[in-house]
């Protein structure tokens, strides 16, 4: 499956281009994104609980995942699922480790040897760390509401994300310090809602968070 992801990503472009728009909306959006980026650029660590609701054609019913996310800049991310099954993925520099309760086996992948996987992880980190301005090449970004701040990202035609994503909506916390929800609607009709709960910003993260098998609940 790693190969599958790799080959798929090898041909996919994550076009980040220039900002062409000159109208007022674009200028406003620029201001909003700059402000967001500025606020979120001050974040060095993020640790948050999450609930992910997946509406997938694969399943009869909604799949609900509960877990925790740890982010430490630069380059560290820990994705931990506690229910329905324990699963963890840790990115530490150029190394990715995965573990799950079922097999109880740790799988490690080198990011440098999987540049395409690296690109996918980069995308994920972009969403979580708020560097939205650089995503304007790939997405048409529009403002859904100002208070609370809600943005809609529609992939541009023939962009990488356009391969499978129809729309992404991002809802921010009232103080706009961090994200509250990310909703993804895929072209296949599958959808995902990721809700962040109890986000702790710029607080020291336990070293255990970077151990793929450790219990950090």
């Amino acid at each position: 499956m790693k190969r599958l992801i790799a080959i798929f990503l090898l041909f996919i472009c994550l076009s980040i281009g220039r900002l062409y728009a000159n109208d007022d909306t674009a200028v406003k959006m620029d201001t909003i994104l700059e402000s967001l980026q500025e606020k979120m650029s001050g974040l060095k660590t993020i640790q948050t609980d999450f609930i992910q609701e997946k509406n997938l054609a694969l399943f009869k019913q909604k799949l609900i995942l509960k877990g925790k996310i740890f982010i430490q800049k630069p380059g560290m991310l820990s994705w931990r699922v506690f229910t329905p099954l324990c699963y963890s993925l840790v990115i530490n520099g150029s190394k990715i480790s995965q573990w799950d309760q079922d097999t109880n086996q740790v799988q490690s992948v080198s990011l440098s040897k999987n540049p395409s996987f690296q690109a996918a992880i980069q995308q994920m980190q972009n969403w979580f760390s708020g560097t939205y301005k650089s995503m304007r090449g790939e997405y048409q970004i529009s403002l859904i509401s100002k208070n609370p701040l809600k943005l809609e990202f529609i992939p541009k035609e023939k962009s990488m994300a356009g391969n499978f994503i129809q729309r992404v909506t991002v809802l921010f916390q009232d103080d706009q310090q961090y994200i509250k929800e990310i909703g993804i609607l895929e072209k296949s009709g599958d959808s995902t809602l990721l809700v962040f709960i109890n986000a702790l910003l710029n607080q020291e993260i336990s070293p255990k968070a970077w151990e793929v098998k450790a219990d950090v609940r």
Partner: protein, 799 residues
Amino acid sequence: MSGNYLFKLNNLVETHKKLIIGLLGLVLLICLINLKFIKYNNNIESMLPADSQVQQAMRFLRESNFSDKLVISLKLNDRKNTTDDLILAADQLINSLDSPLIKQVIGNISNANFMQEMIFFLRYSPQLLGPESLTKLKNQINPIGIKERLSFIYRQSLTPGSSLVMPFLRADPFNLGSEILGNIEKLSQASGYEVTINNGHFVSKDGRAAMIIVKTSVLLTEGFGSRKIVNYLQEKLKHIPNYIRADIIAGHMHTVKNEEIIKKDIWFTSIIAALGFLLLFLFIFRDWRAMIIFCMPLGAVLISTAAAFIVFKNLSYFVIGLSTVIAGITIDYGIYVYLAVRKAGNNLETLNKIIKPVAFGALTTISVFAVFFFSSVKGYHQLAFFSNFTIILCLGFALFILPHFIKEEAAPKITNEKEKPAVKFNSGIFGHFWIICWSILLIIMLGCSARLKFNNDITQFDGAGKEIAKSEEEFHHTWGGKELPAVFVVSSGTLQGAYELNDLIYEAAVKAIGKENFDSFASIWPGMAKRTANLEAWNKFWSPEKKKEFQELLLEYGQLFNFSDEAFAPFIQQLHTQTVLELEPKGLVFFEQLKEQFVLKKDASYQMLSFFPDQDEYITKLSKIKNAYPGTFLVSRKNFSLQVSRALSREFLFLAFLAIFLTVGLTFLLLKNLRLTTLAMVPVATALVLIGGVTYLAGLALNIPSVIASMVVVGIVSDYGMFMVYYCKYKYQTGTIIAVTLAAVTTLIGAGVLLFAQHPVLFSIGVTLVTGVLSGYLSSLLIIPALYRLWKAKEDVSV
């Protein structure tokens, strides 16, 4: 030539002197104007042998996709800047490139729907999967296998990137397409470069460099076009931001740089040689008429250039680069005639005395150059024509025109005293001393020559310079690809034929060197025959009972994971769809992009390429396969040098033998005595041994240009030997010693200036010529008279 004919000819020239000079002046003027319209070429192909393997490889390299591409490498040189800055600059540059010389700019890969394309391509699995995949599938369609697989798919849904893989898992729950996708991934990296895709751009692993490929209509062998496209790109690169360093990596850069260096060398060496000749004539001859001797080779070179252009339609820079050497050789005839007339007076008797050695001297040189007509290398035909045309013209000027300009005036005679020191220097005890020294030197140098190595790498003649070498080194450091793969080429009249043959080669190659070492398009898209067989096996495997059993198992165990009834609908649907075999899948961008790299469309044929590591072990093994399948051949950049070298070595062995045979034969014809002929060959033997020894001691290796130069040396120094033996035998007071000395000096000026050349070919020729001519001259002056006296004395004693 009998005295009667010589007399008539002499009279004719004398009578129509003004008309002849007028006509000659007109011809020279036309040739001078013609210089502007001459096309020069720096095409290495003209210097390669007609060996079928070499020509095939060269044709392939010329016509393949590699020869019409220039790569621009953009590298961030400031740590503050990011990959995004780099990509922005790359996009700006891509958008600015617009020229009729550019066919296509590839800076990013098409943003087509590759995910859908991959899923679509997996529909071809039934015709692409071999028997081993069906065995694997058979082992998985049971309760344990199905449960394990569904559990894996369930776990994948927990990962953050599950959206990417879900469509694939639904379409291919058993991961049967893994091998197909793995092969596509492998093929996409077969270029030998380490490229990653970042935001659709070709970016280096560290994200600090971006690559843009420019496809041009200019072939790298076209000097003029190469300069135009390189200049155009360099102009555009001036506008990129300061924090980015840009390098152009292409064969075109070598063409341009080589041409620049050769042109510079030709001008530089010509000016030095001209100054050297001028000073020599003004200070030694102190006679304005001596300028005519200098002008003769110049005029002859001018006419020969025009003649060679008419015959060959273009002129090789290498041949023109040797024009100073040819001038240095041909000036000798004028010197011999001039000195003879000044010493012995201008009359038919003087001309009769010198015409034989001068004409035979010219003939030996002509014969050496003439053997190049027997070479399969087209560039050498040009060299032979150009040199011999110049020699014949100069000989004619020297014998029939020059005397008429010295005759009328009482030119100051050069006294005989000048010969005396040399005569004394090689007589009596000195003569023995020189023979002993010469013998010791020959033994030492022979020992050194035996250790001499032959350098067969043709890249040593690339004079592109350090700047380009540095850029390429940096490029390879960033992008890899220093060791580019070798290519196995399959040719067929039809595309289907090429696919079928490619299958056979792939199968044999995988057995011989392993699948991991052979990147073939057959690994993702076999020929029709193989796909038909695969499809039949697939249909046979998926009997109605098997399909039923499989679906029931999926439903039963899918419930454990809460999978829907439609979870694997795409796969089930495919099982019930009838597959129609096509020659190629249509409308798949990724397939077309890969195909461009592996399939070449020729005028009336197709070539399919496979890549493998350019190592001797693999070349040997795959050569056996190549020999078994007509219509296939190997192209190895490493092996190419070896092939060229082997072909040239075979040829030069024959040519060198022929040159020596002709030289010895003509010398014998002149002297009509075996012992004297052996004596005349002393400078030839000395020069060849010294060339070998000095080349070794200088830390250099023998190479093709130095072999050619050695052959030229044979032609030059055999003249010295001939003249000296002639002088020793007949004792004609025609200024032989000073003439030989001046001839050697002028040749050394012509050859010596090549030591200042930057281009490795011209430099290599310079080293060989200077060593050979100097040693040949000294041995003819010091050793021949000494040996002659020694042999004469023995003869007298025996008598």
